[in-house]
Every structure is written in C-alpha cells, then in structure tokens.
Symmetry: C2
Subunit: 402 residues, 2 copies
C-alpha cells in the first residue's frame, strides 16, 4: 500500500451524493473511516486501537520504552466538505509509520492518530481535547450537535464514552501535523510547503446595536435610530482599524449579521454582529479588543443606539515549538523543498496539543485557498514533498532523542 | 350609537391572546368585523352590502342621482397589530353617514367603505385594487399569502370571488380617508391633524454583492473580497446620499440584509441588501435611483465585488387632489383645529383610488410614531377633531356639487 492507494480507498467512505464528503463526527461514515484506518494500520503491521473516546491510534513501537512522537490530524469532515482537510495528515502518519517500520531503524515509538470531531460537531476539537483531558466532564456528557444529536447517543453501542480519555503527557515527546493551509498564502507565494510559526488566538464577540424599528415610509431620516446604519458604519471602521494595524498576521472578520425585523419597509430596530479577531500575538488580542469595543461604543453613541457586548469565545495564541519547527525547516532544506514560515489563522488539533506538548505543523497549499467544500484541492507534488519532509524530520527526531 | 361605542364593539373582534389584534384579511375575525360593520350600517338606516370581492359598502343615498363621495379605509390588521390603523377611518365613515342622515340635508350620495386586505396579505391593497379593476385577473386568481393560504380558498363559501370587482368611475365624485400617521411628525409638531399633500412613490431594489467566501482565520486581509465589507461601505454612503439631498420628504432605507454563509468564521461571500427609496416627487425617484446604482457599482468595483441589481417594485407618487385638500384645510380652519400639511411616506388605499379619482387624506398623530403593534395609539381628541373636520368637509362638498 501507499499514501496514494490509501487516499483512493478513504475517498470511498462518506462520499456524499449531494457533493463532496460528509463524514460528520461519529456518523456511520466517520466510524467506517476510522475502522478502515485501524484495519489499514494492522495490515501494515502496526498496533492499532481506539482510546476510550474513539480517537484512533496506530503505533510503531520503539526500540526502547521512551515517549512517543505523535503524527496526527483527523478523518471527519464538515457536511459536503473536501477530501483533503484532515485526511491527508492522518494518511501521512500511516505512510510514515510504514516507511519507518520498513527501514527497521531504531528509535523512539511513533504513532499516527486520528482525532475525533476536529470539525467540532459536538464542540471545538472534541477528540484532541478529550485526549488532553481538557473537557468539563459534565458539559461533555451533555454535548449535543447543532442538529440535536447527543454525543452520548451517537456513541452508544460503540464502546466509546463521552468523557475525557486523558493520556499521560510523559508518554508524549511531541506532536506533528500535516494539514492543508485553507488559505491563499502558499499558492500566491508559489511555495509548496509552509512551516507554521504559531496558531492564532482569537476573540469572538457578539455586538448588538439597538435602535428603533420604524416604518420606512413615515419615519423622517433625521428622527431615525437605524440600527443597521450604525452597524454598517462600525463595520467599515472595524476593518479600517484592523488593516491600519499593519500586522499581516492579524485578521478581523464580521461573518454574521442579523437584522430585526429584517423587512423591506421597516427601519432596522436591532442588528447583531458576530465578530472575530485573530492574532498570533497574545498581547495584541486584548489590546485590539479594547479598541474595537471603544469604537463600537463611540459609533453607538453618535447614532443614539443601545449597545450590548457579549464575549463568545477567547483563546490565546499557541506558538509552535521552536525545535520541532527547526527540524521541519532543516528537513525541507535537506530534501531541496522550498518552505515558507507562516502563522496559522485557523485552529487545529495542534493548537490543543500545543498547549501541553511540543508541537509543530507543516502546511500544503490549498488551490484557490478553498476548503470545507467539494472543490477543496491540493496538488499531489506538495503532498508528496510534505510527507517526505515530515518523514525525514521524524527520522531525525527519533534518532536525536534516542 | 357613536364612534366611541363602535370602536369598543370592534375591538372585541380579533383581539389576539398573544397581544394586539389579528384580523388577517379574509380570516374568520376579519369576516366577522365586516359582517359587524354591515349590521351596524343597517342599524343606522344605511344601505349595506358587499361588492363581489368582499369590500363592505355602506351608502346614504343622495337627494338626486349623482356621483358619490366615498369615505374609506380598512378593518383588517397585520398579525398582532393595533386597534387604530384602518379601523378608525372606517368607523369615521360610519359616524359621518349617521350624522348626515340625521341632518336630513340634501346633497350627493355618500358611502363608507372598508376595503379588504389593505395590509396586503394577498398582495398590495388587494381590495381597493379590485374595486379599481387594477388586478391582473390570472395573478389574482392564484394569489397566495406568505403562510401558503390561497385567496380563492379563503373566499370559498363566502360568495366572494378572487377577481376584479370594478366600479364605474363615473359614479365616484371623490375619495376621502382618515388614517393614523404611522410616523412621528404630527406628534413632534404638537399638531392634532395632518392634511396629506401626496402619497410617496417608491423604488424597491435588491442589490447582491458577490465576493469570495474565505476562512476567517486563513485569508489575509489584503487578499479578501469581503462582500459585507463592501455592502457596509455602500450602506453608509447610501444614507449620506439620501440625507445630503436636503429633501425632508425623501426616505432611504436598507431594511433587509442577508449574508451567505452568515457564519462566524467565514468571510461573507455574498450579501443581499433590500433597499427602498421613497419620494413625493416623481422626478426625484428615477434620478436618485441612478445615483444609488452608480454608487453601488463604484464601491463594488473598488472592493472587487460582483454586483447584481434587481428592481423589485416601482411606484410613482400620487398627489392628492388640490380641491379636496383645500376643503379639508378650510374645514379644519373653520372648526378651529390646527392642521399640518405633510406627505405620506406610507401607501394607503387612497394611493390606489387617487390614481383614478380625486382623493385626499386626513392624518391623526401616532403616539411615539408606533403602528402595526399592540402599542399603536392615538388620543381621543385628535380622532374626534378629524371626524368633525371630515364631516364638515363632506357636508361642504355634498352641497358644493349639488
């Protein structure tokens, strides 16, 4: 078997007649993909098992009982997602274990892991957080998908349990993840590989501007308190603020806009904006958050609007481990592949493990920057290069720590 | 009986346990209200009938066979609407017919009419348009409410027909309507009465800005084509344009905003704005429409967004009849009531009849500018004044044309 053959085989599982792949976490397709992975691992002579949460673990034992190097990603997809996101990282791990086993070289144990529910059907990074013991047990036991399905119910009969399945950190030497970039940077730079410097932290806020719903025909312009007029002014000023910061790793997005009553002949009485800021600099986020809120308050005041602010989510940046980054950079150089160091604006399982164990990531370009859609694609050459670089780095790291 | 007693009686019909009144057009409550009106008319010694569409007509015959003066409005409400919108205009007509009959004075025939479906459950101004013969017969026969109910079905068994019920224009001398302002102008001016100069025309447009949906974490700010960022800039510039025109009767509203995918971590790929402009000046609307579209195109170009424009609705202004306006102004002056001349930003049955027969309207203040809600209210004094002024004007007009 080979990566290419594995990829063809995996694409048979969860292909959606409506387009792309739908391997929603703990769905029949997702379970089948994970069963297939364990089978493929066993066929390659590896120890293969699920942990108590259902994360799939393939293991090549080391020549002595030392902490393992983990290579991981995920097999689940969003609905009508792509074939590459997560999947190529897991299959890269399987491929590298096969190569390491065939080489017979001594060194530390290495594992390939597929974390469950990276796409967050039952919450953000449910599987890797379970392995790191990061869940509030009560909340996890009651976790439900947006479609109403309960985690406990979809796990019923599988032998898995909606509880933390913590693993001893002393048994983990480090974590490496290969993933698609999901953005346009590598493609635009014409570079096949990216070495991630840090995973951005984020602040998600909900801002509700409240004015007065009025008849669009009868309310004179100067007597209105138009919540959308205020929200639109704020949106423009918000983008200006983010762009003026001059930090290319900074992101500011208003992705959600909800009007009430959202009716053609009524002046909007209420507008809720869902806003997020991402930065790889831990100091930037709270500073910028303050400036954004001050801006919203200023505009709400000028427009005679009420303003309610809710913090939805806050997460500090996760710097990638310098030694692991360096190992990836050196391997790329040694194999003659160009690699660009870049931050990850998206979060990954490496952002969960990276808070507790040394972690690093290697990116491959997303064609057109697309992901989470059937059109998601990465050329075969960058994937092959990334697997080679990751393999080379793992060989070095196994030996280096031997 | 009196206006006050009629108003108390009518409020018993269609009161909604969830708040306000729900006399949706051709619902049981709406039918009951119209049956009650015909009964009240008969009890007052008037001829009372439905036309073929279900519009309710009370008539005081004149002393000679001449065109009739019509006084009208509507008894239907929006869901959870108020007690005043439409209802007080119909009851004013009934009250004036009672006074005219009691006076025994000679003159032209006078009618009080309740037009069906003013609130547009089955389309804009379905009842008055049926009486004016303005419907496309095929479309009307197939008309459905947003809740799926078909006009033909709700009419079944009532003897009404989903077809035009055109009335000879030669039989109509003019149309007068008393209505709540549904805006804040009279209240803020401290004036009990408004004489409408014109009913605003309107342009309704749908503007769809199309960019590129991107991952909010991975897409750098300078590589985005953020449809909402463009739409927000346009919204601000649009309001500035309307306000800078310096015409107090001009209105510009963005009441509908729809994002796709409207998800917190995705740069908006598509935004549709529902926009309307209203003006009482027929020349202003097309001129302003051109400027608004040029503005949208300019901003879409700067933001590298696609733009699709759809015209949803276009209606020219309807000036009120100068002689009828003058009769109302003179009556108010004679009875010692202050009256403000103002345009109507909202459309009314007078906007339908006014295209074909001389028409005019008298407004009473809406407390807080509220309407279409349980809190809709108008004090008793302005209503009484408006009925007196309308009664006086009708007496004058009946005689004047005798």
């Amino acid at each position: 078997m080979s990566f290419a053959a594995d990829f063809v085989a995996l694409k048979q599982i969860g292909a959606d007649p409506a387009g792309g792949w739908s391997r929603l976490a703990f769905s029949a397709a997702d379970n089948a993909a994970h069963d297939w992975l364990l089978e493929a691992g066993r066929a390659a002579g590896l120890a293969a098992r699920y942990d108590a949460f259902g994360n799939a673990i393939l293991r090549l034992e080391g020549t002595e009982p030392r902490p393992a190097l983990l290579i991981g990603s995920h097999l689940d997809t969003v609905r009508n997602g792509g074939a590459f996101d997560g999947a190529i990282g897991v299959l890269a791990g399987l491929e590298i274990l096969r190569r390491l086993r065939a080489s017979g070289q001594p060194g530390a144990p290495v594992e390939a892991i597929s974390f469950r529910d990276e796409e967050g059907r039952f919450g953000p990074f449910t599987g890797s957080r379970a392995m790191m013991g990061q869940h509030d047990p009560d909340a996890l036991a009651k976790a439900r998908a947006a479609d109403g399905e309960a985690l406990a119910e979809v796990m019923a009969g599988s032998g898995f349990s909606p509880a933390n399945a913590p693993r001893a950190l002393s048994g983990i030497a480090g974590y490496l993840e290969l993933h698609i970039e999901q953005g346009p940077v590598l493609e635009q730079a014409g570079c096949p590989l990216g070495i991630v410097t840090a995973i951005a932290g984020q602040e998600r806020l909900s801002l509700r501007f409240t004015g007065q719903a009025d008849h669009a025909g009868t309310a004179p312009m100067d007597l209105r308190r138009d919540a959308f007029a205020g929200a639109a002014r704020f949106a423009t000023a918000f983008r200006d603020l983010i762009c003026a910061a001059g930090d290319p790793a900074l992101r500011g997005t208003i992705g959600v806009v909800k009007l009430s009553p959202n009716q053609g002949n009524v002046v909007p009485g209420e507008v809720t904006l869902g806003l997020e800021i991402r930065s790889t600099d831990g100091g930037t986020l709270p500073r910028l958050r303050q400036r954004v809120l001050a801006l919203a308050q200023e505009i709400a005041g000028q427009e005679q609007l009420g303003l309610r602010i809710r913090a939805l989510y806050s997460e500090s940046p996760v710097p990638m481990d310098p030694a692991l980054q360096e190992a990836l950079v050196a391997s790329a150089a040694e194999l003659g592949h160009r690699a660009l160091c870049l931050p990850s604006g998206a979060n990954h399982d490496a952002g969960i493990l990276g808070r507790l164990v040394p972690s690093a990531m290697i990116f491959v370009p997303s064609i057109g920057g697309r992901s989470h859609c059937p059109e998601e694609e990465t050329g075969p050459a960058p994937i092959e290069a990334a697997i080679d670089v990751l393999h080379h780095a793992v060989m070095t790291l196994r030996r280096a720590r031997a």
